[in-house]
């Protein structure tokens, strides 16, 4: 992509590329479907009634705008930058995932699709999809790795209560990437009536663009809120990254503001050197998986390697292609936080702010703990609190050796 020097926000190009990354690497059977989706999304974007319907749901059903909260005790404790938390964990269903699901399912409705399939790792995207399907009267099948089903029991039950069918996936590593494989297999087998609602800013074009657009409400709100509160743009944005949808949603509206630094935080698991991590940028190389070219955890032979993170939502061996591009051009800094650092941050955030972060944004909190003290007291930092930690209490208890 030949990006003009004055904008980082023009991507993807007409081939769905962000530079080397992105594209449409899908089987021929699915190709006509993603071309149809691209047209449907394009038409929806240009239709004011689509935006109006989405805005109403965002306000009255999701509960937007989410607050921009000044974390005073955390700020004081760290003794550096002023820390604001974008409270997307207050959304209906407890995470940012519903921003994207709402948008995609309204597109699906316009396309006349009645059956929705989704993959989920932590269960947050699955819950959001099951929720919107219930609200819109659509059938819902969620694919979830057996490993994650064990790790995230409350969310599995939630999805079933919402009327979704949760199908366990035992193939491969039985985690998020395998759930995505299985969802693609379902889609290719049910091309006539099924809409695949992908949960992160990855997959074949137009998904990375579409998911980014639906999640950009996070950054748009944060931008307006911080300008109102502080009269200026923030110095630093911080967000965690699995596939990267909450991060691209926060970052994208600020990409053309050169003074705004951005940090995407991957999961370092037991440490990058241990090999047990989920940091595609820190420990991966470019490759092709799940319909797009992006950084992947893989061996020299192009076989995909297992990701590890204490957080099921970050446990993915790939990353959205726009992040791969932003990393290569140097616009965004990418770091990695270990399981232990995330757990410590989880505990600190709970004690100081009365907020249990999900283990995913606990990685972002850990990065804030590292970075905020290095910035002056007049610096402004905005972190995306993209999910709440209720779903993780069992995992955290186990990690801390507490028997519930």
């Amino acid at each position: 992509m030949s990006h003009t020097p004055n904008t980082f926000r023009a991507g993807p190009d007409e081939h769905g590329r962000f530079g080397l990354f992105g594209g449409r690497f899908v089987a021929e059977t699915l190709m006509p479907l993603i071309l149809e989706l691209e047209q449907a999304y394009d038409a929806a974007r240009r239709d004011p009634s689509f935006a109006a319907e989405m805005a109403l749901f965002q306000r009255d059903y999701v509960g937007r705008p989410s607050p921009l909260y000044l974390a005073e005790r955390l700020t004081e404790h760290l003794g550096g930058a002023k820390i604001y938390l974008k409270r997307d964990e207050l959304n209906h269903t407890g995470a940012h995932k519903i921003n994207n699901v709402l948008g995609q399912l309204l597109v699906a409705k316009r396309m006349g699709k009645k059956r929705i399939i989704a993959e989920t790792g932590a269960g947050q995207h699955g819950v959001a999809t099951a929720t919107m399907c219930a609200r819109l009267g659509m059938d819902c099948v969620v694919y979830m790795g057996d490993t994650d089903i064990v790790r995230q029991k409350p969310n599995v039950f939630r999805m079933r209560l919402l009327g979704a069918e949760v199908r366990g996936v035992s193939s491969g590593t039985a985690t998020l990437k395998d759930a995505m494989n299985e969802a693609l297999r379902d889609w290719v087998s049910n091309v006539d009536d099924t809409f695949y609602c992908i949960g992160t800013a990855a997959g074949p074009h137009p998904y990375p663009m579409m998911v980014r657009d639906f999640q950009s409400i996070i950054g748009e709100e944060a931008r307006a809120q911080v300008l109102e509160r502080e009269g200026r743009l923030p110095d630093l944005l911080v967000a965690c990254i699995g596939g990267g949808s909450n991060a691209i949603g926060l970052f994208h509206p600020f990409l053309d503001d050169p003074a705004v630094r951005m940090m995407g935080v991957e999961a370092a698991g037991h440490g990058i050197d241990s090999g047990a991590h989920a940091a595609s940028l820190a420990g991966g190389t470019p490759g092709v998986l799940h319909g797009n070219r992006t950084y992947l955890l893989q061996d020299a032979d192009g076989q995909i390697q297992n990701a590890h993170s204490i957080s099921a939502g970050l446990d993915y061996p790939g990353i959205g292609p726009e992040h791969s591009w932003l990393r290569d051009i140097g616009r965004v800094e990418y770091t990695a936080i270990t399981d232990d650092e995330a757990l410590d941050a989880f505990k600190l955030c709970a004690r100081l702010e009365g907020i249990l972060p999900a283990l995913e944004p606990a990685h972002a909190v850990a990065q804030v703990i590292k970075t905020a003290p290095t910035l002056g007291r007049d610096a402004i930092l905005v972190m995306n609190m993209c999910g709440r930690g209720d779903k993780d209490v069992f995992t955290v208890a186990e990690a801390l050796g507490v028997d519930l």
Binding site: H15, F25, A27, E28, M31, P32, S171, V288, D301
Partner: protein
């Protein structure tokens, strides 16, 4: 004796001269292990396979059903790599210079190898063509640039969802043969309704001169015979792969080549007994 596209063309020309459709057989390379896998491959040709599709194992085979998924994992566990797949083809060529060998798999192992180096090494090893499941016409440039000059066929997949408007784009730069995926689904599931397949094959024939192979869901000699009557070749994969798996499950992996030979002989009989497109 030129390989690559030329070997595929020769094989289909001789099938035409015989007045019959061809049998294309798929197995996963190095399943259940490298040594047994090589014997399985040799049996395919001797039992009557006209073209061999050798599956390159991949951790995340998104278009494949459980049988081929498991075969890939067995092969990976046995240490199969792209280099070893090419070695296997090189060994096969010592005794068989006629049977076309087409590697079938996903793009990432080729991308990791380096498309340019891969095209050169594949043709040198005796590979004749490639089928890359997740490389549609929109993305094929970066591989065709190297496969075409090397003389390696890039076999295009056509699906039931491929519209008449789209078909010229899909078959436009095709070589070797065309692979009609007769169902919307994954490998190893139910067979297509032949009455639906016939008009699709006719549509493809109108758009391209290349032979049309029909695959996905064909398991039995009877099904093979039925589809052989409308296509230039039929592809059988999962059913053969399951014979290998059964040998493993029976605790006798060494019997896999014999089991495969028995099934492929029956399939070849079915195909050879079928009416030909020309005759029907």
């Amino acid at each position: 004796m030129a390989g690559g596209s030329a070997r595929i063309d020769r094989r289909f020309a001789s099938l035409k001269a015989e007045g019959r459709a061809g049998l294309v057989t798929f197995v996963t390379a190095g399943d259940p292990d490298l040594e047994t896998g090589a014997r399985v491959m040799a049996e395919l040709a001797m039992a009557g396979a006209d073209v061999i599709e050798l599956g390159v194992p991949f951790t995340d085979p998104m278009a494949d059903g459980p049988a081929i998924q498991r075969a890939g994992l067995r092969a990976l566990a046995a240490g199969v790599t792209m280099v070893k797949v090419l070695d296997m083809v090189r060994d096969f060529r010592r005794t068989d210079t006629d049977t076309p060998v087409v590697l079938m798999g996903y793009y990432n192992p080729i991308y990791a190898y380096g498309p340019e180096r891969f095209a050169a090494d594949a043709i040198a090893a005796g590979v004749d063509g490639l089928i890359v499941v997740d490389l549609p016409a929109e993305e094929e440039d970066e591989l065709v640039r190297f496969t075409d000059p090397a003389g390696l066929a890039l076999v295009r997949l056509v699906a039931p969802t491929t519209s008449a408007e789209r078909l010229p784009l899909v078959v436009g730069r095709a070589s070797g043969f065309l692979y009609y995926v007769s169902i919307t689904g994954i490998t190893g599931t139910a067979a297509a309704d032949i009455s639906k397949v016939a008009p699709s094959v006719a549509r493809i024939r109108a758009a391209s001169e290349l032979p049309v192979a029909i695959g996905f869901g064909i398991r039995t000699p009877e099904q093979a015979a039925a589809f052989a009557a409308i296509g230039d070749a039929v592809v059988v994969g999962s059913a053969i792969v399951q014979e290998v798996e059964q040998a493993v499950l029976d605790g006798a992996p060494a019997t896999a080549p014999d089991r495969v030979r028995a099934l492929v002989s029956r399939l070849a009989g079915g195909v050879r007994g079928a009416a030909t497109p020309a005759a029907s």
